[in-house]
Symmetry: C2
Subunit: 262 residues, 2 copies
């Protein structure tokens, strides 16, 4: 357990004062995105402090996601403008009903690029089966992909649909599209509508945690960056679950917004 | 930047296999909440590995929030059942309109306890002023508090209301209640309704980051625990902002749920 660090006279410790000083210079734009920050040696000299103090000051900024350490080179300002992801609005029928992929509405200014798209059949594991109302081991269609913004990987998403639902409509072009790499305008929600299973209700559950080593690799996460996990369930009428999506986001790259009426 | 760690033959490195083994024992209940996990020495002996490997294995579990290191004592399973916080439902008019505090609806099984409640007048800083549509430095009522569940601090919240709004209705009992420690049944939203300024729309913005040292202290965060920041704005009719609330949550203690229609 940590305690609030204060020096003996109750004022903040020196490393925090130094961090605050550098933070102010970043916020005011004197250090711009990508600029190299003063290193430990420079801070030691300019502030007359020990190396440990200089290092702590820089660690504060790294932990806040304002700076990133590049091995063997130094510490750099990292100001990636977070992607604003609108919960309710993004998934509203007007959007995907009009043939827009839900992701296009996230920051109309910055396009998502998708890579590592994989579509395959799989056996539902326990929690996927539970959410989709299937027997454990039942067939699911698994669509996984990674999203990049400005060439930076920002999230991975693994979507599961009950395979039975697609087999039922095997000769419908919409069912074939859902099994293709390119699901067509409006994506799988538009195709599900064409199959008479339009999603009418969404539930999103959000958790936060530190990444696994695999996630750090896939999302190129800097040390000390948490991930956001969004588990989304899409229900068609009569509470029929039609999709479950496990989304893992670089926590420093997103602001999630939800709007609702009282 | 991290890369996915694999050993030369492509299988996961030994420390991850050991972590997975212990994780499985926790998930299956063989190590229960609060149990002490095998230490570095035990793992070195039982698995024939170096100390660094044993330490890495335990770090994986700590980073995932499944275990917590207690200085000078060992590493313990920490299974705190997260609090489920319902976005839209929790703030719906039916709840606070019936005289329920919004927090009572979070996990009906576990009560929140509030401490460090402070009510004071303050000058609005830049971002609070912007959200509340005030001049910078304008008067605001600042209500701050900490919430505990099972004696564990889980979140702090600092709420701001335009002071002018309360001065306008200075002789109304509801305005006096909003300035009191105990705001009465239904809390400030019920009192704002009585003043003709019932919130009709809420926006919540969610970010995640590593905590500041102060936050680690206030929330008793274990090392490697991120915080969730929820910034909530309450708007009355005609888009009039009536409250801004900055909520900081122990990221390991919460699941945020949002439900919405397509």
């Amino acid at each position: 357990m940590n305690v609030v660090p204060t020096s003996e006279n109750g004022s903040p410790p020196v490393y925090r004062e130094i961090a605050e000083e550098i933070r102010a210079l970043i916020r005011s734009g004197q250090y711009a995105d990508g600029d190299r920050l003063p290193g430990e040696n420079t801070i030691m000299e300019s502030h007359g402090v020990a190396r440990a103090t200089a290092r702590q000051a820089l660690s504060v900024l790294i932990n806040e996601g304002l700076a990133v350490a590049v091995r063997g080179s130094g510490i750099y300002v990292r100001l990636f403008r977070p992607v604003r992801r609108h919960g309710a609005r993004r998934l509203s029928k007007e959007l995907w009903g009009n043939g827009r992929a839900i992701w296009q509405t996230d920051g109309a200014d910055r396009a998502y690029r998708v890579d590592d798209l994989r579509v395959e059949e799989a056996a539902a594991r326990e929690h996927v089966a539970r959410v989709l109302d299937l027997e454990e081991g039942a067939g699911v269609l698994r669509r996984s992909r990674r999203y990049l913004v400005e060439d930076r990987p920002v999230q991975t998403a693994v979507s599961f649909l009950p395979l039975a639902l697609l087999v039922e409509h095997a000769d419908h072009p919409a069912a074939r599209s859902i099994r293709s790499q390119d699901t067509g305008p409006g994506g799988i929600y538009a195709r599900l509508s064409e199959l008479g299973m339009a999603p009418v209700h969404f539930t999103e559950e959000i958790r936060v945690r530190m990444p696994t080593p695999e996630e750090s690799g896939e999302l190129h996460l800097a040390a000390g960056t948490p991930v956001l996990e969004v588990a989304r369930t899409a229900l068609a009428s009569e509470h029929r679950p039609v999709e479950f999506n496990q989304i893992t986001m670089d926590g420093s790259a997103y602001v999630l917004q939800y709007d609702f009426e009282a």
